[in-house]
Symmetry: D2
Subunit: 360 residues, 4 copies
Amino acid sequence: MSLNTQPLKVAVIGAGYWGPNLARNFSASPLWDLVAICDLDTERASQLAAKVGHPAVVADVATLLAEYQIDAVAIATPARTHHPIAMAAMAAGKHVLVEKPLADRSGAGQEMVEAAEDHGLVLMADHTYCYTPAVQKIRELVQSGELGDILFIDSVRINLGLIQPDVDVFWDLAPHDLSILDFILPDGLRPLSVAAQAGDPLGAGKACVGYLSMPLTGGGLAHIHVNWLSPTKIRSMVIGGSKRTLVWDDLNPQQRLSVYDRGVDLFDQELLNEDSSDRRKASVSYRLGDTWSPALEEYEPLGKMVAQFHASIQDSAASPTDGRAAMRVLSVLEATSRSLKKGGRSARVHGENIRLAEAQ
Amino acid sequence: MSLNTQPLKVAVIGAGYWGPNLARNFSASPLWDLVAICDLDTERASQLAAKVGHPAVVADVATLLAEYQIDAVAIATPARTHHPIAMAAMAAGKHVLVEKPLADRSGAGQEMVEAAEDHGLVLMADHTYCYTPAVQKIRELVQSGELGDILFIDSVRINLGLIQPDVDVFWDLAPHDLSILDFILPDGLRPLSVAAQAGDPLGAGKACVGYLSMPLTGGGLAHIHVNWLSPTKIRSMVIGGSKRTLVWDDLNPQQRLSVYDRGVDLFDQELLNEDSSDRRKASVSYRLGDTWSPALEEYEPLGKMVAQFHASIQDSAASPTDGRAAMRVLSVLEATSRSLKKGGRSARVHGENIRLAEAQ
Amino acid sequence: MSLNTQPLKVAVIGAGYWGPNLARNFSASPLWDLVAICDLDTERASQLAAKVGHPAVVADVATLLAEYQIDAVAIATPARTHHPIAMAAMAAGKHVLVEKPLADRSGAGQEMVEAAEDHGLVLMADHTYCYTPAVQKIRELVQSGELGDILFIDSVRINLGLIQPDVDVFWDLAPHDLSILDFILPDGLRPLSVAAQAGDPLGAGKACVGYLSMPLTGGGLAHIHVNWLSPTKIRSMVIGGSKRTLVWDDLNPQQRLSVYDRGVDLFDQELLNEDSSDRRKASVSYRLGDTWSPALEEYEPLGKMVAQFHASIQDSAASPTDGRAAMRVLSVLEATSRSLKKGGRSARVHGENIRLAEAQ
Amino acid sequence: MSLNTQPLKVAVIGAGYWGPNLARNFSASPLWDLVAICDLDTERASQLAAKVGHPAVVADVATLLAEYQIDAVAIATPARTHHPIAMAAMAAGKHVLVEKPLADRSGAGQEMVEAAEDHGLVLMADHTYCYTPAVQKIRELVQSGELGDILFIDSVRINLGLIQPDVDVFWDLAPHDLSILDFILPDGLRPLSVAAQAGDPLGAGKACVGYLSMPLTGGGLAHIHVNWLSPTKIRSMVIGGSKRTLVWDDLNPQQRLSVYDRGVDLFDQELLNEDSSDRRKASVSYRLGDTWSPALEEYEPLGKMVAQFHASIQDSAASPTDGRAAMRVLSVLEATSRSLKKGGRSARVHGENIRLAEAQ
């Protein structure tokens, strides 16, 4: 923070599940003044305000935008309300941070992105995982070429979860995996198609167990497993590279990241096609090298996230989790839903980002 | 073994990768006399014979069948040779044990099944996992209703594996998972369709990373992940039931099986459809009960398998891994290959077993 | 809480490392009114007060006791100040909760215990672990006889820890293990002697690696390993019983407690003394039964602890972590230090509790 | 093996628990001719002979030494018979390999060492762990200075074990840990004293749970925990160094060795003595660096061990597990027993090796 940096003024809209985390981090940051908490349930808003330095309590968004001098709003309300609140805020000249997902459908999201660009405002998604020390390090390792070409990505995010009233397990959990993929892949998340399989074995009326496959540019395959019904909790991602393979086990604080210098090298394509009765004869070589677990910094991800929001506004620096990144995530989620409706057949991923990918 | 049980005479055909394991177990069993080892490579056959009590060494199958007095043969040769060898053996009146997969295509397998039935001979597949203490216990737990209805099954079998010259990762690894599913499910493995996704990121000309989804009868979903490129080794299966969920971690000898009395109960379907801004309000109840890890017996699976082969012959008792079981596995593998050819679209599973399923 | 229960008034003394946790829990409890935070560093006290509902900020204990209407104080100051503050508080008629250890020497602790008894006041130690769901369940399992007789206890508490300026690794970490033993053992912690070994390989002037052995009444052996220099973190306790053995792995949230129905039964003492060249011939039998992991409730231990403090005052119910329990812990710590001074020779454990043990 | 290397002739004495492993490895090695199996129980010897290429079967040692042309014997009989057999073999001019422990008392062991030196014969102990890939790598890391000075070593070897008829848990299990320490430490295992604690909670008449502490030269502390009554199996060793710390988890095949670049550096001794009410103020710095897990070769340890035995004879190369190494282990075991008899007081470690240590 340079000497002449002035803290920006922000209001948090929504005092439910996630809002308190945002409020706490804005309140703790020297870059921000937390001016107001806005929630229809003013009792809940007041309780939150008491814990974060007593900002104002406001019942409705219109009043907030009309009467309070703020630079930005952070929206932590149900997904279907993101669009109207964000549009109103941007119309009033406010920068906007939105909890994931950006919107409940991509048309709404696209309008939000365009409104931000039209008004010259920052629209950023709270893709919290992207600001964790582990994911920051993964991005660094992928983008520096340490892993080589990406061959496959396998992500598992399962545990006994709340069956959400409004969304299925893909829309609830996969935004985490998708936003991480968008963040770490050099070109972002730009699959041309998605194929999904789902189970609803309890008859909940929506997918509770889900599998998602996407071809990566370059021939690799990404796969995501999300599950609300698993009695054990797993949050892991394997990123197989042509040089090394990274395993992220987010529930192992003693060794979250492991980089394996192991792999397979094909060295004689013809041998592969030759018939052989000896299963042990292989036309590949194996590297069985060392494993390395990089030390990670320790900080609160949301603290880093609100600092990024500030930097994007102050310095006009692009945020890696901006509205366009959020749109790429949304486009994959929508394609997932379309694939499910087609019984698992591949669904094309729409959206501006894809047109870019096709143009390349 | 009753007092008047006579050991049966057996020859092992194929002294390569798996044959020695079969030979060692036949040799060690009081139920069997290992009479001969048959391999074109008689040097290799002799080396094996020296370790298992010096049975005869025979260079070709025709000689074996013509000149040696045997009741049965165990075939551990490459998959494409299973059919001709088994057909010749059955024509000569020998019972047949075949290494997985039964054959390299289902037409051949079907002929083998029919030949066995026509001749009144036993045709059994060496689905070794089905004879492990862990899988025997899983079958008992599933079939006794301890887990309730099966909601989902998620199987992962990944490690740095040999890229096989003749088969892809599905045909190499998934027979294990599929034969286990056939063994533990009350009705066996009878999915109507299969959808598969695969990656060949090294350009090996075949799938090296694979995902397989199958609807279970009753609304559940089974999913299998097989991978030759993973630097870490995982062999796990989660069987989610309406009452309890079982986790099998085959690489944890201290706690291979865990039965979790945890789960989700829907109790008010309407609430699920009601809109709510409070993510913490859920229309479900959670059971967070105890976990239980049953003690397992310790024995060599192949010893149990050869005893089953003996019992099937002696007592005409049906084997749970008979030719028809092997055909069900083969039918799913073939459907998997068809799904891959169709870009991941669901492929119907053919075969007699499926006709049965449809007739029910 | 019965209808006529009035909240009691409490002040927290010490706003450093642990005080905020106490303040937060008193503040959140309907059983307590948090009236004041007392710290010489009033800046620090004010910051804390702002987060827990703005109780009064007081600079010194004398003023607190003289001018504020309080029923109790909670002392979270350095160990050597526990005695003077607690004595002053009790002289002023206040009930006292003290962070561990009770005092920095047992003479001081004994005076505190006697003062509490003389004044009819509650003196309780904040042995937080005793209020965790895991330790509550362990106590239940031990005291109900589920484990049988206690044969051995092995406790490990190691990680890269702060080298404390005032205490060695025993006084820093072992109070946790010792207070847990006191809490779970049917007769409390009453070893007649202690033998300790220590390492100071960095030349810090105090033990940084420590091992502590104590004979248990009944022939068992308890052993505690504490270590500030371990790069990995382990917090585990094995409680071997004649019927079952319990393993507590506090860093495994998915399975903190495991009860193993495994063990050794001697069945022929004579065989044990017989010579035998066969190492596999054993005069014992093994039980290799199931493993069971009880579900644990989820709550904040300090919340339960402040509720116990309230109950002890209101209902004159004895606290399992009262002053006498804290004295038993202190006596073992002092004996540990004496053993170290004697080069590891056993040191008798002094104190009233021990006289009781000897009288039995 | 150079071109003119002739295989040496060896006989295995003792066909019980360990003899078959030795016989198999001698039989498989091109460096050795396995000439005979010697056991009073000739039935057992014959069964073993049938599996290892049909060497001669001999009933007694005298006949073996008189009538068979052999260069060496490998003794795998009960500990108390090691001395007479080895002395007879050396008197007959045979090199000797002995299963651990070298002898059942150090006087006998010392005679064996001296006899070997007098006759110019090789006397080597089968300290198998020293020939594992993991321990070879540990030795390399310790002796190259990668870890810095050794600050502490903590070894745990526990599981549900057989209660041995002739030895206690120290003599049964600790030879493994002690021989490893002797192998990896630059100066070998030369503690001046040992303090031991033991439990016999089942009344077996011998220690079933044991703890052993030894000061290392240089100020470090080594501690060994051996236990026959633990329901879980742990085989781990932590070697804390001034630069890095190594953790060996022998039951984790995916990551047996981890080298942590973490630790504590004291940087201001005075601060340590200064009083402070702030527990977070520490006069130390922490390194929280990366973790590294070296790849290990894969081979059978006993194969390497019999190759070392051959090299020691052929090339007169000193074996790292020679008779003197075995004597150092034996001396610590005897001191352990003396410490137990003295109620845990430190017992001096006797022996030639110690005299050397004192002379330095």
